[in-house]
């Protein structure tokens, strides 16, 4: 076992989650490596401390208020299916739902990049800086619709977590004929290292006659690999 592997096993080791053989190999490594020994001590200290973090106290009248609420609550029975714990899905079922959007995303990105240098119309409704891809050109995109989360009538935001590919897939395939500006991208710590959230606003105006879809992809940053502004 090398240091990198040892380091990644340390937390599991201190929680007694390692298999016997991995544990043996880790211990062998620790015996020979003072640096990892030190790290092991630190990780152990973290694991131990985490279990004794300060407790947050509930208000004294918690139960009393709860019982009052129960007493005053209307007798409601909502569908219980949503409340029941579900069996954890299998990995195949869980990740399988990303397959269709991923395929759509890849084909769309290839497609968008092909079109990008050609399309250069500026849509006056959107202002300078937007490069319009003519609607007819994208009619061959075959992707399943992805439902947006509704936030407010004119402001919609779409969450994506993994990469640019996901965002393009969701954005393009969920177009229902309206035009949206992507006002910006918010990097969100909630979403981890690759978490970006486009902030969308529905644009005024209507689509050019005869078009069913309308994509505006202004700038792809070669360094960041992100579409920085877009309306669709």
């Amino acid at each position: 076992m090398n240091c990198r592997k040892a380091l990644s096993s340390l937390s599991a080791y201190h929680r007694d989650e390692l298999s016997h053989s991995t544990k043996e190999r880790l211990l062998q490594h620790l015996e020979a490596c003072p640096d990892c020994q030190k790290k092991s001590a630190v990780v152990g200290q973290i694991s131990q401390t985490v279990r004794h973090l300060p407790q947050h106290e509930l208000s004294d009248d918690f139960n009393m208020r709860l019982f009052e609420r129960i007493h005053n609550a209307p007798r409601v029975e909502t569908p219980v299916a949503a409340l029941l714990p579900k069996a954890a899905p299998s990995a195949v079922a869980y990740w399988g739902r990303y397959t269709a959007p991923a395929v759509a995303a890849i084909s769309l990105v290839i497609f968008a990049l092909t079109l990008f240098p050609v399309a250069s119309d500026v849509d006056p409704r959107l202002g300078a800086g937007y490069t319009t891809i003519t609607p007819g050109a994208v009619s061959s995109v075959n992707s399943k619709p992805v439902v947006f989360s509704e936030y407010q009538q004119n402001v919609r935001a779409l969450r994506f977590e993994h990469s640019l590919l996901d965002s393009l897939a969701a954005a393009a395939s969920s177009s229902d004929g309206r035009i949206f500006h992507i006002l910006g991208w918010q990097k969100k710590k909630d979403f981890g290292a690759f978490g970006y959230m486009p902030v969308l606003r529905e644009a005024s105006g209507s689509l050019p006659a005869g078009s069913s879809r309308h994509y505006v992809l202004p700038a792809v940053s070669p360094t960041r690999g992100l579409v920085r502004d877009a309306a669709f």
């Binding site: 201190h14 620790l30 200290q45 909502t78 918010q186």
Partner: protein
């Protein structure tokens, strides 16, 4: 005599396993319900506070959780563990709250930075490293934080967490591992301090 029997059974409620309490609750026994609330309220409250960074909201959600447990007591399916059921309800409510916060944030993008929920200030008597660790946990991205809190702080099993979060077992494991790695990276500046502490703790290096 009757009073004594009653008194004994009240004491015994605390010792009853969850499913027996649930049977009593289904018969309308509020004392059993009270015992169930007491059994889980503090644990769950701590999970919720760490997830939501707010004592007040955590308490509201906890109230709502137990209210629903009570409302739906007759629909409880005894194939499941009572604890998993309660946690699932609580975590679903907490996640709804987090989604609601995101909506609010994005309605007014210009005011975005002001609306990010800052952890509440609280009097902190704990040792410095504990406060540092507490803050580091609060900085973990939400989905990793959830798994980490349930596993390493609340000490649930991976199987239970997979059911509660409704994600595959492997995903839970990788989220917990990722959270632990992130935490370790965040605590790098405190490594020397933690090392010194480890020397004085009952904890050993794990090698003999």
């Amino acid at each position: 005599m009757e009073r004594q029997t009653k008194g004994n059974s009240l004491l015994q409620r605390d010792k009853l396993p969850d499913y027996q309490l649930m049977e009593q609750i289904q018969k309308g026994d509020m004392v059993s319900f009270n015992a169930l609330v007491n059994r889980y309220k503090n644990r769950l409250h701590n999970v919720l506070v760490r997830m939501l960074d707010s004592q007040e909201t955590a308490e509201d959600i906890l109230q709502e959780t137990f209210l629903r447990v009570h409302q739906h007591r007759n629909s409880f399916d005894f194939r499941f563990a009572v604890s998993t059921w309660i946690y699932t309800i609580a975590l679903n409510l907490a996640r709804n709250e987090l989604r609601r916060r995101k909506r609010v944030q994005f309605l007014d993008i210009l005011d975005y930075s002001n609306k990010l929920k800052a952890p509440e200030e609280k009097v902190d008597n704990s040792p410095k490293f504990m406060a540092v660790l507490d803050k580091a946990v609060a900085k973990l991205p939400q989905k990793y934080r959830q798994a980490f809190i349930l596993r390493d702080i609340d000490q649930l099993s991976y199987e239970e967490i997979a059911q509660i979060l409704s994600v595959p077992l492997g995903t839970v494991k990788s989220r917990v591992n990722r959270a632990r790695d992130m935490l370790r990276s965040m605590l790098k500046p405190n490594m020397e301090e933690l090392y010194e502490l480890s020397k004085g703790s009952v904890f050993t290096l794990g090698i003999s």
